[in-house]
Assembly symmetry: C2
Homo-oligomer: 294 residues x 2
C-alpha cells in the first residue's frame, strides 16, 4: 500500500535516513507584488523588522491580557498550555487567538492580516497562534530550526507559503534569549535526518530532537551572511518566512521575554496529510479550519 | 573545637543556612592609584574593556597554541582538563600558564601583569589561569556568580583583592555566549545559600549548584544599571573585578568562543584555609605558590 505522501511529488523531502544535501527553494518568498521596502527586505532576507507595529497603549493592553492568561490556574491543565520542564512555569499558550478576543482582534488587524495577505498573495488563515513566555533566570532556548520543515513533515503543509509575525510584549534584548535568524536561509530547504516518532509534538514543543538540521548545514547557511538577532522594544515585531532558519539561546537574565506569535498560511496552501509523520498534529498546533481571516 | 575560619572575623560570610542580605563592600576595587581612565572605569563599573590589548599577530599565535592544546589527546586525561558534559569536547584547560610557555610569557607582559599590579596596588601572583573553549552549537553557558564568592568560600582568599583578565581569541559576539556583567555589582557581596559539598570543584567547574546567588539578589543588582555584554574582536580583553556578578548564556551558533583567563591576586592577599569548605581545592584551580610574577 502506498500512502498519499508517497504518491505525491515532494520537493521538500525531510526526515530522511541519511544526511541529504540542501535543497534550493524554487517557490517564491513573496507571493504577491514585491512593491514596498518592507516586502523587498523580506524577500531578500527572509525576514523584516517592524519597529513600532503596535502603539505603546495597544502593547500594554495585550501584555496585561497575556499576564492574565499566564496566571490563570484553570488554564494550566488545558492541553494547549505548555509547561516549562525545569521551572514548572507556563512556557507557551497555543491557539491564543481562540482563547483571547484581544488576540483574535489583533490577528484581523490590517497591519497584521493585511501584511500577511501581501506576502502570501492570497487570502490567509491562521495556521497557528501562541504566546511564548520566556522566563528570566532559566528560560530555555530553542535550537536552530525551520518552521516549515516541521509543518511540512508533521502537519502536511505543501509549500513554504506561510508567514509568521512575532510581536514583542517585553524588551527583546541581545542577551535575554532573543530570536536569532540566518539571513537568506529561507532560500534553502534543509532536509533533517531521522524518522518522526509518534506523538512527537508532545516532546518537540518543549525541546526538539527530530527535525533538527545538521551542524554542517547550519554552518553552511551562516557562512553566507552570518546571524542577525531580532531585538526591539515592546510593540516591535519580526515578520519572518516559514522556512527561515532561526533559534534562540537560553535566558539567565532577570529580564523575561514574552512574544505573541501569529502564523498565517495561504488558503491556497491548506494542509494535507503529513509528509513525514504517521498522523497529523492536533488542530491547536496546526489548524485544519481554513476559513480566511476577515 | 573551633576551626580557624570560625576564629577569624569574616566580613564576607557565605554558604549560609538561610538567605542573607547583600553586604556592602568596604574594601576598594582599585588598591593602587586610580590615575588613568582605564582604572577609573574599572573602579566605577567593576570592569573595563581593553579594545586591542594584543596585536593581531600575537593573538593568532596564541590562538594556534590553544588549538594545539585542545587537540592534544594526551592532555585529555590530565586532571587540569575539563571535558564538556554533553559533547565530550574540551571545555577548559586550567593552569595553562604552566602548560604553555606562550601563556606564561603573556602573563608576565607589562600590559597584563603591570595592569594587575596597578589595580591591586602591590606585587601579584597568578591565582588561576585557564583557557575556555566554548564550542559552537552546544556550548554550555554559566549561571550568574561572583568569582570571589567561590575563591573566598572554597579557596580561602581573604579579601576581594584579585583581578581577572579575559582575552578573546575568537570573536566575542552578542549571540555566542559572551560574558555578561552587571555594572557596579562589585560593590556588593552576595552571600549564597547552602553548605559546600566535599570535592565540590569536580562538579562546579562544569555546572555550579552551590555558590549560586538568589534570583532576588541578581534582580536587585541588575535593577540598578542593567546588564552589559563583553563583545570584541580577537585580541580585545575584559579586565574585571573578582567580585563582579557575571555569567553567560549558551552558544547554539556555529561560532565558537575561546578566551584565555588570567587571574592575579595580590601577594598581600595570599590564600588561607577555606572560609566555607572542608578542604581547599587543588592548586591547579587555586594556586598556593605565591611567588610574584616578574
Amino acid at each position: 500500500m502506498t500512502t498519499l505522501a508517497e504518491r505525491r511529488i515532494d520537493r521538500y523531502r525531510t526526515r530522511t535516513d541519511g544526511v541529504a544535501p540542501l535543497i534550493r527553494r524554487t517557490d517564491p518568498a513573496v507571493w504577491g507584488k514585491t512593491d514596498s521596502p518592507v516586502l523587498r527586505r523580506f524577500d531578500a532576507d527572509g525576514y523584516t523588522v517592524l519597529d513600532a507595529l503596535l502603539s505603546p497603549a495597544e502593547t500594554a493592553e495585550l501584555a496585561a491580557e497575556m499576564d492574565r492568561l499566564e496566571s490563570d490556574r484553570d488554564l494550566r491543565s488545558d492541553e494547549r498550555v505548555v509547561i516549562e520542564k525545569k521551572s514548572d512555569r507556563v512556557r507557551s499558550v497555543f491557539e491564543v487567538h481562540r482563547i483571547s478576543p484581544a488576540v483574535a482582534e489583533l490577528a484581523r488587524d490590517e497591519r497584521v492580516a493585511g501584511l500577511a495577505r501581501q506576502v502570501l498573495g492570497s487570502e490567509v488563515y491562521i495556521h497557528q497562534s501562541r504566546v511564548n513566555y520566556m522566563p528570566g533566570f532559566d528560560g530555555a532556548g530553542f535550537y536552530w530550526h525551520s518552521d516549515f520543515e516541521t509543518w511540512h513533515a508533521e502537519d502536511g503543509m505543501p509549500l513554504p507559503r506561510a508567514v509568521s509575525l512575532s510581536i514583542a510584549l517585553t524588551d527583546n534584548l541581545p542577551y535575554n534569549g532573543s530570536l536569532m535568524v540566518i539571513p537568506g536561509s529561507h532560500r534553502f530547504f534543509v532536509p533533517c535526518r531521522g524518522k518522526t516518532p509518534d506523538e512527537h509534538y508532545r516532546e518537540s514543543l518543549r525541546e526538539q530532537r527530530v527535525g533538527v538540521p545538521s551542524e554542517e548545514h547550519v554552518t553552511e547557511l551562516a557562512g553566507g551572511r552570518g546571524i542577525v538577532q531580532f531585538t526591539g522594544a515592546p510593540g516591535s515585531a519580526l515578520l519572518f518566512d516559514s522556512n527561515v532558519m532561526h533559534g534562540s539561546a537560553n535566558n539567565i537574565t532577570p529580564f523575561r521575554r514574552s512574544n505573541i506569535f501569529l502564523v498565517f498560511n495561504s488558503v491556497e496552501n491548506a494542509l494535507e496529510e503529513p509528509f513525514a509523520a504517521s498522523a497529523p498534529r492536533p488542530a491547536y498546533v496546526a489548524a485544519r479550519d481554513f476559513t480566511p481571516v476577515r
